[in-house]
Symmetry: C2
Subunit: 231 residues, 2 copies
DNA sequence: ACCTGAACACCGTTCAAGT
DNA sequence: ACCTGAACACCGTTCAAGT
């Protein structure tokens, strides 16, 4: 009873011992609130009520910390594939799970495009691949087909991360921001930028998430319709 | 006469005056040789035989410098569209031009995915868009269709940049590196990673450039085959 | 107008010293 | 074993002072 009480004593100042878990959690919080450039060993140390050196006992350095934070977010966002779902539906669910995770934690996008050995992404790659296989793509084209989905997803991730890195005042009101870019487009030279001008309205009204899904559908259509070399 | 002589005295130590152009050229050289983290105002100043402060007279700061360097490379790589080319061929040429530019200057990839207001990329966007239009995509779907191509291209750019950022010793021999990753894949759990294992051989033998083009073809196939909502 | 280079306010990382 | 925090070797950027 007193044991339980001491374990749940509430928001006391008594510091819990440092641990990799606590450090990573604090890092994620910092990344979410102040962005990638705000993740500083000094800021992190302050938040954990310790010195910067202490962190190095549990984590090798800044890049390992970023990787661990990414891993934590992606693990939490892991998608289970419904048993009765079509390959198409499963790919959509998978891609949407990633999209939403990156929407909540834009720095993950930067991390994903910046990490070539995508260890935390390997399960995603596997799942995407299985759906490609289920779509009837010839074996010799499996790698190409997943790569297309893969690169598209990472491309969107990177763009989202870039948007989130922009100065806050400019992007605080997303629709206002899109509107101003659309205005810029609409003001371009009528001959040299005829297409961009014509599409300014669609930029203004587009929904990132829906657009992302349309791209997925498009690539899936391409994967099934493409005349793959028999292999 | 003495004036001319003094202007063309040859490779003397006499320093040319600083200029935005010279600074950007030196920055590109530095980025190509020592990578993005090697672009330092001190290193740049040394190369230009001046102090770090001098650079700020011509350039607002580091990020403007990176943008200017990217702009310089992309302008040099600008592709003219052949007059008799099909939309499909033009998209391929455009995408390939970008791919090769990023292959030569991987830091450009980082820069492109990191810059949302893609001013130096606007002409590329316009060209891609015109081809989409020429493919007969309904007007209401123009934006979605270019976006898919766009995000795919930027995704590949980001991946290439990430690969180039990896520690040199590991990636000096590209085929050896791919081989080792393929070995890792082949050693994965047979049940949970059946697809990834099956595709390890294709990873080992794949050609980045060809793979990239396959993805472009795939998306173009999707764009033409997709059942766009009429609009 | 343009350049110089010391100085400022930061970083990530290390390490002797503590407990 | 784990933590502390000063110190080191860097950064980008500023700015008084020079020419």
């Amino acid at each position: 009873m007193s044991g339980m009480a001491s374990r749940t004593r509430g928001p006391e100042r008594r510091r819990e011992p440092l641990s990799r878990e606590r450090i990573v959690a604090a890092a994620v919080e910092l990344l979410d609130t102040v962005g990638e450039s705000g993740l500083t060993f000094r800021a992190l140390a302050e938040r954990l009520a310790t010195g910067p050196g202490a962190i190095y006992w549990h984590v090798a350095g800044r890049s390992e910390l970023l990787a661990a934070a990414t891993d934590a977010v992606l693990t939490a966002a892991a998608v289970g594939d419904g048993p009765d779902a079509t390959p198409h539906e499963t790919v959509r669910a998978l891609a949407l799970g990633l999209f939403d995770a990156i929407d909540d934690h834009p720095w993950v996008g930067t991390q994903l495009v910046g990490t070539p050995s995508q260890s935390p992404m390997l399960p995603v790659f596997e799942q995407l691949g299985r759906q490609v296989r289920a779509l009837g793509v010839p074996r010799g084209a499996w790698f190409s087909a997943v790569s297309a989905l893969w690169n598209y997803i990472l491309g969107v991730a990177g763009q989202n991360a870039a948007n989130a890195r922009m100065p806050q005042p400019a992007t605080a009101d997303r629709t206002a921001y899109l509107g101003s870019v659309a205005d810029d487009w609409a003001a371009l030279d009528a001959d040299r930028y005829a297409f961009t001008r014509a599409v300014a309205g669609q930029l203004r009204e587009h929904d990132d998430r829906a657009e992302f899904l349309t791209g997925i559908d498009l690539i899936l259509t391409g994967i099934t319709a493409h005349r793959w070399p028999t292999g």
